[in-house]
Amino acid sequence: MSNQDIEKQEFNITVYTENQIGLLSRIAIIFSRRKINIESLNTSPSEIDKIHRFNIVITESEEVVRKLVRQIEKQVEVLKAYYHTNEDVIWQELALYKVSTDVIAEKVSVERLLRENGARAVVIRKDYTVFETTGHREETDNLISILQPYGLIEFVRSARVAIIKDSDGFNRKLREFERLEPGEEVIENEYLNQGEKVFTM
């Protein structure tokens, strides 16, 4: 194992962006052209109107992540990008598990199962039941291994969402941005009042 591999760890990249078509592709390319695998990617509206928040998880060295974040910030519609280790964020993933209701009712003590794994039943139908858990990867993985022997029909896990522990949120940062770099006075073009002269068609 090289030194570089040893230095690698999970990083959570948080990106605040305008809500713009094509931006996901622009950001994804920054990773793919360097052959870096995105392990988890979540995008959603943020607490600020018209500003979206990306949560991206990759395993890399800090030096590489720092450079990636600068490349992300270069994108026109990106307001700010941050990176943090797992220790610096509070993060969760949501998982859904579909199992046969008959099997689970016959062979498992459902009540114990739910209690021990912090799970809850989302849907109970005659033919199947869907459970949900939220937590870190190892926690959601744990329920897979429990349910697998009972014929786990389907499993899905969400991307990671993360809150930065020492962040004041982005509202203040955005106000600071606008204070430091307000738009200059815009100049209307000289043709506005010359319709007939300009529009010769």
Binding site: T17, E18, I21, G22, S25, R26, I29, R33, R66, K67, R70, Q71, E73, K74, V76, E77, V78, L79, F177, E178, L180, E181, P182, G183, E184, V186, I187, E188, N189, E190, Y191, L192, N193, G195, V198, F199, T200, M201
Partner: protein, 578 residues
């Protein structure tokens, strides 16, 4: 109260005019100061071309012979004029033919706005005739791109396009406009130039603390060394840069794209950096104690092996693009900002000095290089001509006043090494992408961008054959571009590598050429072919004094190598003189 009543009773002046998206686009271009467009029409951009028919007096459209030629011309125009190059192309193959030029403009930070036609919005994603996903294809090679599907978007999007292309670190922008948006009529309420986008910070905020720290490092340095790049030219900071160099008395060397920011003959200009740069600047990079990098990005052709690059030096890096700082070379003091602003701040704080002894060290290396390489290259005794002597003769006639546009290969490195530049925006070449076929169309654009200057394209026999169809553009426009083909009957740079590193296994580099002079003649361009040294001065004079374009083919030594050279994977200090 009276004012309010007056407002109520006076009808508001109405300025909105119903126009098509195409007309709005052209009006926007006029307000942006566009005078020249390079382009090629096609089905999906026909409404724009139809509107353009009525704008002949305001917008000069240059019909190129291939879209790649169009964008390289746009790049050449931008590089000499300092303005934004504008290119039109149709959808599908027209748009994809722009990709090489976009990548070239992206890596060389050239402001270009490309407008591509697109199929009707309702056909998007249906594999319609000449439909390609232009936005996704061009995303990695543009600073910004956007697809317009509604004419109402056009004024705002074009304003953003120009602002993004030319502000901060410049770059290419592509706007793809669906055919329905080109045709659609809407109420055009005028055009307002853009100067602010909430999420976009073209210039980082200058941190005075770092200016002070940089000045302290520079003032304490015994062997400081400046390396500068195109950022000085892009920032129009030539005067500020000269003031900094002259007050500090620090020897300064340039990257290929930085050439001409201060004159070649300036006493503190110690030459070119990089793989085929000068001997002294390369070797002494690994001996200086403070390395001041200005508007350059530490390209691998400049640094050679990074783990052996200037390890002894403290590095001050001035750049407008924060992502360039620490990208390749870790800086001791990062100076974020536009060098037009940061250089005067730095100049104010530095001591006036003359590093005479240190500067003489460069001169000693120069002398060594002259003896080993330059003298024979410029004054050969062999029967065949060298590329270097052609450039030397050209210098004597143009006196460093011409715009030199080069293609890619040996001739490019020779021209960059030996051409004299007295003015800024004189060296137009494909530095980052290394695009063969760049020079001929770029020279056409360069001439439109600098119509009062002589434009000389220097091209290899290989690169010329990649875009020679643009001779047709020269013929039709009557533009005055001088073309020198340095013909060594090889793809010379690849052959040089094969000779040095592949045991002379000359794999597919022996290239045959047509009769270039007769070819030019077919396009009504006069020309001459020479292979005798004695004919060279007269032929160059004939070319330069000819009214209009001229093609001069010079037969040069077949197997000449460009030295010095930093072999790939070596440190800059391991530069070879032979």
């Amino acid at each position: 109260m009276e004012v309010a009543q007056e407002t109520l009773t006076t009808p508001a002046p109405t300025t909105a005019v119903e126009v098509s998206g195409s007309v709005a686009l052209l009006e926007a271009l006029i307000v942006e100061g566009v005078d020249t467009i390079f382009g090629y029409p096609g089905g999906a951009i026909m409404p724009i071309y139809d509107a353009l028919f009525d704008y002949n007096d305001k917008l000069n459209h240059i019909l190129v012979r291939h879209e790649q030629g169009g964008i390289h011309a746009g790049q050449g125009y931008a590089r000499t004029s300092g303005k934004v190059g504008v290119v039109f192309a149709t959808s599908g193959p027209g748009a994809t033919n722009l990709v090489t030029g976009l990548a070239d403009a992206q890596i060389d930070s050239t402001p270009v706005v490309c407008i591509t036609g697109q199929v009707f919005a309702h056909l998007l994603g249906t594999d319609a005739f000449q439909e390609t996903d232009v936005i996704n294809i061009t995303t990695p090679v543009t600073k910004w791109n956007y697809q317009v599907t509604d004419a109402n978007e056009i004024p705002e999007v074009i304003a953003k396009a120009f602002y993004i292309a030319k502000s901060g670190r410049p770059g290419p922008v592509l706007i793809d406009i669906t055919k329905n948006a080109q045709i659609q009529k809407f109420n055009f309420e005028g055009y307002t130039q853009c100067n602010h986008i909430r999420s976009y910070r073209p210039k980082p905020i200058v941190r005075t603390q770092y200016i002070q720290e940089a000045a302290e490092l520079i003032n304490q340095a015994k062997k400081p060394f400046i390396i500068w790049g195109q950022g000085v030219i892009l920032g129009s900071a030539e005067q500020e840069f000269k003031a900094f160099v002259e007050k500090s008395g620090i020897p300064a060397a340039w990257t290929v794209l930085g050439a001409g920011a201060i004159p070649t003959e300036h006493p503190l200009n110690v030459g070119m950096l990089g793989m085929h740069g000068n001997y002294g600047p390369n070797v002494l990079t690994n001996e200086c104690d403070v390395l001041i990098a200005i508007g350059m990005r530490f390209d691998d052709r400049v640094t050679g092996r990074l783990d052996k690059y200037a390890k002894q030096a403290k590095v001050v890096h001035l750049d407008i693009d924060p992502a360039e700082i620490d990208k390749n070379v870790k800086s001791t003091v990062p100076v974020w900002g536009d060098c037009k602003e940061t250089l005067p701040m730095l100049t104010k704080l530095i001591d006036e000095k003359k590093h005479t002894e240190w500067l003489n060290t460069f001169n000693e290396y120069t002398q060594k290089e002259v003896e080993a390489v330059i003298h024979d290259e410029l004054n050969p005794t062999t029967p065949e001509m060298t590329m270097g002597e052609v450039i030397k003769q050209l210098n004597e006639i143009t006196k460093g006043e011409a715009v030199i546009v080069t293609d890619v290969g040996q001739h490019q490195m020779v021209a960059c090494r030996y051409a004299k530049f007295n003015k800024t925006r004189s060296n137009v070449t494909s530095g980052g992408l290394g695009t063969m076929g760049f020079a001929l169309p770029a020279a056409i654009g360069a001439k439109f961008g600098a119509q009062d200057r002589a434009v000389v394209a220097i091209i290899g026999d290989g690169g010329f054959q990649m875009t020679l169809q643009e001779l047709g553009t020269i013929m039709q426009t009557g533009i005055d571009v001088k073309i020198i083909i340095l013909n060594n009957r090889f793809l010379g740079m690849v052959r040089q590598w094969q000779e040095l590193f592949n045991e002379r296994r000359y794999s597919f580099v022996d290239i045959q050429s047509p009769d270039f002079v007769r070819l030019a003649s077919a396009y009504n361009i006069p020309g001459k072919r020479i292979d005798d040294r004695a004919e060279l001065p007269a032929a160059l004079n004939e070319m330069l004094s000819n009214k209009g374009s001229f093609l001069l083919e010079v037969m040069v030594t077949k197997e000449n190598n460009v030295f010095p050279m930093v072999p790939q994977g070596c440190s800059v200090a391991e530069i070879r003189l032979k």
